[in-house]
Amino acid sequence: MVGEGPLPTIGQPILRVENVSKSFGATSVLRDINFDVKYGEVVCLIGPSGSGKSTMLRCINYLEKPEGGCVYLDGELIGRKVENGRYVDLKPNELAAQRTEMGMVFQNFNLFAHMTAIENIMEAPVQLKRETRAEAETHARQLLERVGLTQKADCYPLQLSGGQQQRIAIARALAMRPKLMLFDEPTSALDPEIVGEVLEVMRLLANDGMTMVVVTHEMSFARDVGDRVIFMDGGVIVETGTSKEVLMAPQHARTKQFLARIT
């Protein structure tokens, strides 16, 4: 898909979520979710825990397989293809190739424990993009500089603070030069005083024009960095709009109630 159409311009949707639904056993977690994310946009998913926002994020890169609906990245259907007029699941390796286009950052960092910071960043480019070690290392050092951790290149994850680990995890995801970054509560496992350093890296990333979908409880981040906010509750989108609209002047009673409690 890349390079075929006209160059992407800001304002065009890069991610399209259409009628996505998901249930775990008898519990329905997502019901008929629809939204678009445009190039360069930062969209924050907010809502109470159990509202389905993390599941929604994981449906985008198919870590969870939605039962209904479609996810398109840059016009390409994720996880499935149409064959003889019906949807067929992609082969595991085809799905893996699609995932290289999306970076993901987890609540618990999930850095590879047996690799140093720089090895964590180089692993996917060397193994998947067939970059030489030298190329990957040059890029990795640039990324380390971008997240402010050049000094920690040779440290193992356990030797780093939570905030440092999460910044390395962001660099690791960026190393694949993704079109889209997914953040699943990136600061929820961090001490309040080091939340700021991770949010700062994310803010710089947003300023550089990276398209981001962020599940977060950090309302100040959603307000200052987010372009748009999607408020979810009970597996549905309750309210969506620009950050200022939703956070400053919520229309829906449920949104007002949630925001009143969290701030």
Binding site: N61, L63, P92, N93, A96, A97, Q98, R99, T100, E101, M102, G103, M104, F106, N108, N110, L111, F112, A113, H114, M115, T116, E123, A124, Q127, L128, Y156, P157, L158, Q159, A169, R172, A173, M176, L182
Partner: protein
């Protein structure tokens, strides 16, 4: 308590030095004899090949056991049940006598025509019977060890690799297995030492490994005790070397698991030098 221990040790030493049946001269005479050394070599390569079969087979069985396919996991469970549930000695005798159970082995289409065929006795030599008996039995134990190692790795590790776009096989090889090794290595070291001594069981199928070699000698000269001491000393020497090796392998796979830097193998050997160097920089990691 200390006094009792001291007396007991003194008695043992006295026995070892003065016993008339334990002639150290005889021990010394046979310690490097060519028959004993070739027996030792056979013991070593039997241990190596059987452990190789055990580790490779055990890894495959472990993957089968944790697979989503019921057929694969049931097959692996049944294998483990069978090979762990019968004595190794019985299994060795079974492989040794396999020809009377399956007289001919052939390669071809199952239940169809065969392309090559040979008598079982010519294929399953004594050595092959020993390797099959020891290796297939070991695989059953290694399967459980490898499975425990794989299960011990945080599922978040695999998820992060999946999100990066790594295919399943690559994730297993690069992310899961290296971390599982930390849990797999210590019991595998035990198993290897157990295997080294377990090879002595194949003396019953008259394969001249270390024990059978000394048995052949003392059957001629009746110097039973000195020759058993020769074998025991060799087992102790190899076990000691294996234990040292295990220590370094554990250090390697434990990397990233301590908050302080793990010194390299070489720097451990030159510890005093290293410590003086490190004192200046320890606060860096504190």
């Amino acid at each position: 308590m200390v006094a009792i221990t001291f007396v007991l040790v003194a008695m043992l030493v006295h026995l070892l030095v003065t016993s008339s049946s334990l002639q150290w001269g005889v021990v010394g005479h046979y310690f490097f004899s060519s028959d004993v050394l070739s027996g030792l070599i056979r013991t070593l390569y039997l241990t190596a090949i059987a452990m190789l079969v055990g580790i490779v087979g055990g890894t495959i069985l472990a993957l089968m056991r944790i697979s989503k396919s019921l057929v694969l996991s049931m097959a692996a469970s049944s294998y483990i049940w069978l090979f762990r549930g019968t004595p190794l000695l019985v299994q060795l005798l079974f492989w040794f006598n396999i020809a009377s159970f399956v007289p001919r082995l052939s390669l071809g289409i199952p239940f169809g025509p065969s392309f090559v065929s040979a008598s079982t006795n010519s294929l399953i030599t004594i050595l092959a019977a020993a390797v099959l008996g020891l290796g297939l039995n070991e695989a059953a134990y290694m399967a459980e060890i490898v499975r425990a190692g794989i299960v011990s790795v945080d599922p978040g590790q695999g998820e992060a690799a999946l999100a990066l776009g790594m295919p399943k096989r690559l994730i297993f090889r690069r992310i899961v297995l290296p971390q599982a090794m930390r849990v797999i290595i210590p019991p595998t070291g035990n198993q290897t030492i157990g295997m080294l001594k377990g090879t002595s069981l194949v003396s019953v199928i008259s394969l001249p490994e270390l024990l059978y070699s000394v048995q052949l000698i003392y059957a001629r000269n009746f110097e039973t005790i000195p020759l058993l001491v020769v074998a025991s000393l060799w087992y102790l020497i190899v076990t000691t070397i294996l234990s040292i090796g295990q220590h370094f392998v554990e250090k390697y796979f434990g990397r990233g698991r301590t908050r302080t830097e793990v010194p390299s193998v070489l720097s451990r050997l030159f510890r005093t030098h290293r410590e003086t160097q490190l004192t200046g920089s320890t606060d860096h990691y504190a």
